[in-house]
Amino acid sequence: MMGEVGWFLLITINALVLLYFVVLNSTYLITSVTAFRSLRSYARRLKTVDIGELIRSGAALPVTLVAPAYNEEATCVEATRALLTLEYPDYEVVIVNDGSTDATLARLIEAFELEQAPRFPSASVPTAPIRATYRSARYRNLWVVDKENGKKADAINAGLNLTRTPLFCVIDSDSLLEPQALMRVSRPFLEDARTIAAGGIIRIVNGTTVNRGRVRDVRLPTSLLARFQILEYLRSFHSGRLGWAEMNATMIISGAFGLFRRWVVVEAGGFRTNTVGEDMELVVRLHRHCHDNGIPYRIVYIPDPVAWTECPETVRTLARQRDRWQRGLVETLTRHRTMLLRPRYGTVGMLSYPYFFFLEMIGPVIEMSGYLAFAITLALGLASGNFVLAFLALAIVFGVALSVAALGLEELSFRRYKHTGDLVQLFWLAIAENFGYRQLNSWWRIRGMWSALRGKTAWGEQKRKGFDRQASTP
């Protein structure tokens, strides 16, 4: 009896893993092909856009940049300075000090000659109490809000309440925007008034030379872990997000860089504070809000506006980050599960939601069970070693092909890694990541799921080096 149950379980798991594998990789393949078409036409289209002319035209919609900061004393001054040098005709910067326990506020006050100034809110999304608002005596478009700690989403909501422009941009205070990033990411709002949110690409700054808030020489970092993440980001943004955006089914706009139409976010209730995945949660809620209320809308991803961010370089920090991401994913997808496979939510309900639910959320569990089931199958001699090896080879080659396709898309479009040696390294990493890194990632994500089920809410800190120290040693 036990033997039959075990036998049945083994067959089921193997079948499930095979099905998961086929569906997951077919989806990746479809999004990659869609992304290829989209990126090719986008790269051509970019040649017709004169960003300088757009800036001069007076058509740009005013923007408020909201950057929440918690214990960012190492990077906050430089990052804020970079925000003040963006090429955009009409924008304000609101840094929200979310109850930092280090010298973040003091650094900002000193560097930008901040003085206390009253500021009337335009909206009243609930937040932790505001202690004071400051305005810079040197840069009239710079405001700093000092508030009690309420975590990232709460800090963004405090900034949202003080926003008076039609658009507001959320960025991490430790991210570095390229000078034209804001103009580029705001373009979809000019070209289609139904656009309610747009995201740009996040690139990893580790290893590159940063001088006065500008990225100068893009190089690969020395840390292998950071290199793997570069490849992962390229794959995720070039193949994944671009592909989904082309199908009008974008589910994530990174919290590190996203531009939103103010009124619709306020109407939807602002960012949710009781989740660690507030960026994805907001985008999913916006989809739901617009569908439920019959608001015509577009949520887009465009690949040329760049925000640079520092990635973790230790296994421990990376594990915590992935754990948090997975918790955010689980929280969002379970909260809005009513959208799953509901035709009224369009391509989001019928395509991207099921993808994230079954493949991204539950996927790691199936993948890890698969490794185990395969090992048992092999150990018991229930399947030929050839078959197992062939299947593993297929899994690896599929992964490599997708990564290499993402690198091809990068080369076809933006070519940020100018040094040929770096490109060769990335190709090599596309193979190497399949032996250890990928499995570790699945394990961290399973732990994230477990944390979500236990109701863990902690963020986990990442110690920043600061952009000045990112320069690779010559």
């Binding site: 040649k47 017709t48 035209s57 009337f120 009243s124 229930l382 080879a393 070519r415």
Partner: protein, 352 residues
């Protein structure tokens, strides 16, 4: 339990086949990326070399040291498009006689660019129009007018932008007509584009604004354009629209126009809108009253401080400051009125 899982040899063959296919794809992707990298590097070097060769000649032509024919002699036929793109950079930066010289230098190569207007890719057609739009709209005006009807919105918009920049009364009607195609574009963006036509276009714009058969979005764009052009002649028409229209975007745009060029006899229509159900309309009405109103409107602006919308309160505070009600604002700032913080902010900013 028969001792083996149901994996057949056929299954193994399929897996192996797919693996080899994918491996082939991965290798092909790698080779393509490598080839792209090599081709890009080669092209970049070539263009850098050519630009280094052309730049001193162009500068010499601009300063009158060299004849224009000198440049033509140095350009190979296959590089015509590249030279035109290079000259485009100069055309964007220069003005007056120097720009005219650049346009003359580019003239022989424009027909090569016009060929791209027949290409299948809309991006290529748009790019050709953009280049021609900078270098010679008059010469290719028919192509531009045709492009307004192009099936691609990108191409039509590029043509419209070029025609608006090089205004001719013959284009105005067509440009306004084509706005129907761009109803989803930002009102501000379209208004900024039309404003390039300049004050001579005002009569045509006014006629379009008066035409109630046009979509409200289009009329809002036109009202915003007339606001940018500070067209005094449109004020009465705007007032009539306030009395008859309901669309929020149109009302806000028209209130903005009256705020800029309106007179006191337009006040009754504006006052009516202080009670609009939409906060954006109420806020604009408050600002307009503050700009063109009389002392009789002070009480209405003061009571807007009690509005439930923070936007209306902000407009009211600014309006009160504009009409010299600083003492009243100081009183509010020191009180526990819901608008106290707005008043404090304004007083702080005027002192700073």
């Amino acid at each position: 339990m028969d001792g083996a899982l149901p994996f057949s040899d056929r299954g193994l063959q399929v897996v192996a086949l797919v693996t080899f296919l994918l491996l082939g794809c991965a290798v092909a992707f790698t080779l393509t990326a490598g080839w792209l990298r090599a081709a890009n590097i080669r092209n970049e070097r070539r263009w850098a070399r050519l630009e280094k060769l052309w730049e001193p000649v162009i500068m010499a032509v601009l300063t009158g040291e060299t004849a224009e024919s000198e440049l033509r002699a140095r350009v190979h036929r296959r590089d015509h498009m590249r030279l035109a793109a290079f000259l485009l950079r100069y055309a964007r930066q220069l003005k007056g006689a120097e720009r005219d010289t650049v346009l003359r230098l580019a003239a022989p190569y424009l027909d090569d660019i016009a060929v791209d207007l027949r290409r299948r890719s809309p991006e290529i057609r748009a790019r050709a129009l953009q280049t021609l739009g900078e270098l010679s709209v008059a010469e290719y005006s028919q192509e531009f007018l045709c492009a307004l009807d192009d099936r691609s919105h990108l191409v039509a918009m590029t043509a419209a932008q070029a025609l608006a920049r090089h205004y001719d009364p013959a284009y105005a009607d067509r440009l306004i007509q084509v706005l129907n195609r761009f109803q989803h574009w930002s009102i501000g963006y379209l208004a900024a584009m039309l404003a390039n036509m300049g004050p001579e276009s005002a009569p045509v714009l006014r006629a379009a604004l008066a035409d109630s058969t046009r979509p409200p979005q289009v009329r809002a764009v036109i009202a915003r354009t007339l606001t940018s052009l500070k067209d005094v002649g449109a004020a009465d028409l705007a007032c009539e629209i306030l009395k008859s229209e309901q669309d929020v975007d149109l009302l806000v745009a028209v209130l903005g126009l009256i705020e800029k060029v309106g007179r006191r006899d337009h006040l009754p229509a504006v006052r009516e809108l202080l009670h609009s159900p939409d906060h954006a309309v109420r806020a604009s009405a408050v600002s307009t009253l503050a700009r063109i109103g009389t002392t009789a409107d002070t009480a209405a602006i003061r009571s807007a401080l009690d509005d439930q919308s923070n936007w209306v309160v902000l407009h009211a505070v600014r309006g009160l400051n504009d009409i010299g009600e600083a003492d009243f604002l100081a009183n509010i700032a020191g009180s526990d009125h819901p608008g106290a913080l707005a008043a404090r902010e304004l007083l702080w900013s005027t002192q700073a």
